[in-house]
């Protein structure tokens, strides 16, 4: 399973006349970390929702390793190896960490409904296999000790980790992280940066949305800057940092 390349070409989205994404073109290179940054309302999350099939696109192409995925239902996009986390953390609060992560393993369960109703041994084998895989992922993201705790009681940072583990349980080729560092303290952010780099080294393409520039500069190979639904700049962290258009988008012009 190799890392996938994601290519967006002139993708657009309007909500009842309001332009959320005007025209975005970008490439997330295979096996690299690409960051999508920009002020609030610049269309970052809308772009991510279009990639995962949650919103249909109004124009443009979204290609995963050359295959157009813009018209696919979200579960079909997931089946092609695209996983995501949510900006507003969407976990099943009353269920345990392990059960939440196991939902990500859903598409790898091989037992049929008939197997389940007949209680065949294949069901147990498949369940045991996925459980072991998910436990290894809890270990990877550093929350193995919390496997039997209801996620509703976890800290903000830990819940973000559960989301990442759940996304990894789908065995993605492309992982989308929507503001993974939001609400984390300094130490948690450093640990998260190491985790993102470890995920990249596992052969997974990462596309992340993040406001923390320090964090972005630390993990990203490539940065794309959005403003008013268009990409206004792209390059390595060093290049982007010096671009006048980026400084203007974030800080405004002097006479503004």
């Amino acid at each position: 399973m190799a890392a996938a390349e994601l290519e967006l070409w002139q993708v657009a989205k309007r909500f009842q006349g309001v332009v959320a994404v005007d025209s975005v073109s970008l490439t997330a290179a295979a096996g690299k970390v690409t960051a999508l940054i920009g002020p609030n309302g610049s269309g970052k999350t809308t772009t991510m929702n279009m990639i995962t099939g949650l919103y249909p696109t109004d124009a443009g192409h979204i290609r995963l390793d050359g295959v157009d995925i813009a018209r696919l239902a979200p579960h079909k996009v997931a089946a092609l190896g695209v996983a995501r986390t949510f900006q507003n953390i969407r976990l099943l609060a009353s269920e345990t960490t392990l059960d939440n992560v196991l939902l990500g393993a859903h598409r790898h369960q091989s037992a049929s409904l008939l197997d389940v109703l007949l209680g065949l041994p294949a069901v147990k084998r498949s369940e045991t296999r996925e459980k072991a895989r998910c436990e290894a992922l809890l270990d990877l993201v550093g929350i193995a000790a919390l496997r039997d705790v209801a996620v509703g009681g976890l800290s903000y940072g830990d819940r973000r980790r559960v989301e990442i583990a759940r996304a990894l349980a789908t065995q993605p080729r492309l992982l989308l992280l929507d503001e993974p560092a939001a609400g984390m303290n300094f130490a948690e952010k450093r640990a998260l940066a190491d985790l993102v780099l470890a995920i990249r080294d596992m052969g997974i393409t990462v596309l992340l949305i993040e406001h923390d520039i320090e964090f972005v500069a630390r993990v990203s190979d490539h940065i794309v800057v959005l403003n008013f639904g268009r990409e206004i700049a792209a390059g390595t962290p060093e290049e982007v940092r010096r671009m006048p258009s980026v400084i203007e988008a974030y800080l405004g012009t002097e006479d503004a």
Binding site: T52, L54, A73, P74, H75, A78, A79, A83, R84, F86, N88, I89, R90, L91, L92, A93, S94, E95, D99, L102, L103, G104, A105, H106, R107, Q109, A111, L113, V116, L117, G119, V123, S126, E127, E130, A150, V151, G152, G153, L154, R159, R166, A167, T170
Partner: protein, 293 residues
């Protein structure tokens, strides 16, 4: 011992049968409710199953078991046809659409004299349904729901109930699973319709209307959707309550309404959540962290 059982069934046989029948129906509705489908189509599916199975036994002379299965299958087929458009609707609109379906079935039953006997209904249906058959079917239903709940299908169904957008993004075919559950619910409801028809000697267009659908929906909600035995507890409770309140015919319906209101207000997880009082209190002490919409 056997004599005591016979004596009990002689006096309360009808009530026992009704409890069993409603339990079966409650699990049929649970299948839909488990994935957040508040269906009011149950009455419609029961009617389809009832008329179909009666047609099979009385007109075609088919064996009882074949007739009941045929009724279930026809109801499942109808569920498949209306499921595709109806499942695209959310919440209230889904309820309205399934209610409309039940009404359409009722109107058809009222007017299709050749098959349904029109407003008069069909009298003199042979009584084939027996208590042991109902017990067996309830046990089978219990096992199926038990096996489903503890499997990974149970996990994805619970996820759909709580957050279908997230489930879809995690690779769960939400529409496919909902449609399957809706069809399965239709099958069970249709089968129960056939069993009911062959228990009561009679079917008429007013037997399976809105009231029947609301009652059926109340069983698993009152008992608890999250507990295996919840639908059964809800069905038996709701069936027995009017009998227990027989001492006062005037207060009966008022008390019934008040009790249901009390369960909904004070036990939002259904009656079965009484058994899990402690863990719930412990969970409440932790910081509240419901995932935002």
């Amino acid at each position: 011992m056997m004599a005591a059982l016979d004596g009990f069934l002689a006096s309360y046989g009808n009530l026992v049968n009704l409890c069993l029948l409603n339990t079966l129906l409650a699990y049929g509705v649970w299948l839909a409710l488990a994935a957040n489908m508040f269906t009011l189509g149950t009455g419609g599916f029961m009617a389809v199953g009832a008329y179909c199975s009666v047609y099979f036994t009385m007109q075609l002379g088919a064996p009882f078991a074949v007739a009941v299965v045929a009724g279930g299958l026809l109801a499942a087929a109808v569920a498949l046809v209306i499921g595709a458009p109806v499942l695209r609707l959310r919440g209230d609109y889904f309820m309205l659409a399934t209610f409309a379906f039940t009404e359409v079935v009722r109107v058809i039953a009222l007017n299709w004299d050749a098959v349904t006997g029109g407003a008069i209904g069909i009298y003199g249906i042979p009584r084939y349904t027996e208590t042991w058959q109902l017990v067996l079917l309830v046990l089978i239903a219990l096992y199926f729901v038990f096996a489903l709940r503890r499997s990974y299908f149970g996990r994805s169904i619970a996820a759909i109930r709580q957050d279908d957008v997230m489930s879809e993004a995690m690779g769960v075919n939400v529409f496919g699973q909902r449609l399957s559950l809706f069809v399965a619910s239709g099958f069970v409801s249709g089968g129960v319709g056939g069993l009911a028809a062959h228990l009561n000697f009679f079917v008429g267009p007013s037997d399976f209307g809105l009231l029947r659908s609301v009652d059926a929906l109340a069983y698993p909600i009152l008992g608890g959707v999250n507990a295996l035995l919840g639908p059964m507890v809800g069905a038996i409770f709701t069936t027995l309550l009017p009998e227990l309140l027989r001492f006062s015919s005037q207060w009966r319906e008022i008390l019934m309404g008040l009790l249901i209101l009390a369960v909904v207000l004070f036990l939002p997880g259904g009656a079965m959540s009484l058994l899990r009082w402690r863990p719930r209190k412990a969970a409440a002490r932790r910081p509240s962290t419901q995932g935002a919409e």
